[in-house]
Symmetry: C2
Subunit: 204 residues, 2 copies
Amino acid sequence: MIAKPADSEPRETATERLPPRDRILSVARDLFYERGVRAVGVDEIAEAAGTNKMTLYRHFASKDLLVAECLRQFARQADAEWDRLATTHAGNPRAELTAWLAAMTDHIVSAGGRGCALANAAVELAEKDHPARKVIEEVKRGQRDRLVRLCRSAALDEPEFLADELFLLLEGARVSAQSVGRDGPAARLVRMGEAVIASHTPHA
Amino acid sequence: MIAKPADSEPRETATERLPPRDRILSVARDLFYERGVRAVGVDEIAEAAGTNKMTLYRHFASKDLLVAECLRQFARQADAEWDRLATTHAGNPRAELTAWLAAMTDHIVSAGGRGCALANAAVELAEKDHPARKVIEEVKRGQRDRLVRLCRSAALDEPEFLADELFLLLEGARVSAQSVGRDGPAARLVRMGEAVIASHTPHA
DNA sequence: ACCTTGTATTACTGACCTGTAACACCGATG
DNA sequence: CATCGGTGTTACAGGTCAGTAATACAAGGT
């Protein structure tokens, strides 16, 4: 470690001089996602966040609650990105759907091939009473519902059924990227989604 | 524990009087699947198998290799069930495909809602050099390839693309059963699969 | 100067984990 | 009977983990 005597510059390594709580959350999200919830200890998180375990436990009552909060943040971020797509294609739900498909595929191939943080956590945390499970269920249901609304407003046939098909294709792409690789079936997600959408498009 | 003095009867609780190695494998498969690989220790496995840790380590060099062997057994069992479907519908690949869809859906709703043991292990074992990862990749690729061959022999359009769609739908159904529940989109897997198959059926 | 609030440091508990060592046992085979 | 492979039992090493206690430091407001 190199000492920085009187460096009062507020600009650091992006997450560097945020409050400890924010640094902890940011680092924990990365580590949990990349290596798994059970594989990362609180000591490592605290150190990577440039702080210590005591400060971590002053902000989060337990590791389980820290995990839950990280998943909430993942969900907020996903919602925000979807919001951006919605405003970009405002008034054109069909285009928003296509853009959504492309964005999801992009995540799969770019984000380290570790799939969906929420779904992964659901696999790792089999205990039914884990505080993270409530978050996972709520978020996933919300995402499915939003997809249903999007399909409905795009005037496609059987919007709920279509949304379920797209939802399962996406979930399958994200999880299978971890077993058969990112260049497997997951890489064809856009084509598949478009094919399924086409089969629900009312013929003029 | 109740003593059984001179009970030389070979019939016990099914897995009871098999060789220790088989009992360990059987118990380990159940525990790993139900609670996760990282959440189950070797001590618990040995005890549940009616033996001890030393005997376990005489048959498996490490826990990681035990996990890999369990996954191989899962794969063998899945292959065997698929073989049975194939012989039952010999000469009628289209019917085999439908039966396969039904069987997969049945597994999802009946098997505790914990999805696919291989895919779950891939999520839990993020280390790229874990001995189980080779097994997972081989098996998953093999299953996709078998599905491709089935779609091809059923004379459906674009068999590889169709097989990928069905593969992702299935993987998505199994993983999403753990987040949104078994009665969510996963319950409609048969209908979805049939819809996708229909869109690849050459219009006679 | 004082107090308060948040943070850093260090050390610790108690539990759990994988893996091993040493030794007793038991049943089959010679 | 004797040997021997597989098994049971106990104890232990060495590590990691979540979570806590006690104390010191640093900055802001009054």
